[in-house]
Subunit: 134 residues, 2 copies
DNA sequence: TTAGTTTTAATAATCGTTATTATTTATGGA
DNA sequence: TCCATAAATAATAACGATTATTAAAACTAA
């Protein structure tokens, strides 16, 4: 795990942590450009991959959409908004998921699982209500 | 839910159910082409969308990969192989996921959730073993 | 039968991401 | 310090999956 912390990586990492959101590569690209106007989008993609590989950040592959990256590397699940695709961290009890049956299903050797709660975020609920009034 | 069952839709639906697998649009396109050589890939995509919208089939959006479609519309979860991306149906107990806390997290109005067990399928485990021997 | 609607095939366009490549930047000895 | 080489970068082309466009064909209902 010899990872050279280049300027680009440092700023990418810093901006992700600073945002405290689950940003996509291009959202992060916009933020990083303010400090490094000449950085390339491919560099952002490549380094997000490298940083998540090295365990500095988490990679979120949510339901067929754009990948998002997570500033929080501790074990947790996610809620995501079906309307605006915002993602939030979640710390629900994982009990009932550590049962024997999950350890080996259908002959698979199980390495983990992904739990996504799907819903509508507060902001989108509010918007929907206001739409109704019209 | 007035859905005209065209020949194209009929055959797409039939081939998906026949396969009893979680096929992607292009895999299904290959199968359907045998009966309708002139069908267009876009037609397959469009009708898979329509059929899943109407509840005839399920749509699987697994972790950043190609969408797959499910012949089984009853409520269930999935295991998928991290190596070959094969997907299998699963009927594990959903207890511990119907708790109060899940109903409303972080102000979200919860509509559902997706649980993916990740692992290595029997075929890929076997392959890995044979690789080791060499 | 005909006018209007829906669906289709063919294909262009788009979106997110990865690959290529020439250039720049760092690194580790002589 | 200088040089060789290794790694990382910016720019951009290419890619794979999916969606949009459009003109033609197939239905449907008066």
């Amino acid at each position: 795990m010899q990872l050279r912390m280049t300027n680009q990586r440092e700023i990418i990492l810093r901006e992700l942590k600073k945002s405290r959101q689950h940003l996509s590569a291009d959202e992060l690209y916009d933020k990083v450009k303010k400090y490094m106007p000449r950085i390339s989008l491919a560099t952002v993609y490549r380094n997000l991959e490298i940083l998540s590989e090295a365990g500095f950040i988490g990679k979120l592959e949510i339901s067929g959409r754009q990948k998002r990256f997570d500033y929080d590397v501790t074990e947790h699940d996610h809620v995501y908004c079906a309307v605006c695709h915002r993602v939030d961290n979640l710390n629900i009890e994982r009990q009932g998921l550590h049962t024997r049956e999950i350890k080996s299903v259908k002959g698979y050797s199980v390495t983990g699982y992904r739990l996504e709660i799907v819903g509508i975020c507060p902001a989108c609920q509010k918007k929907a209500k206001q739409e109704k009034k019209k």
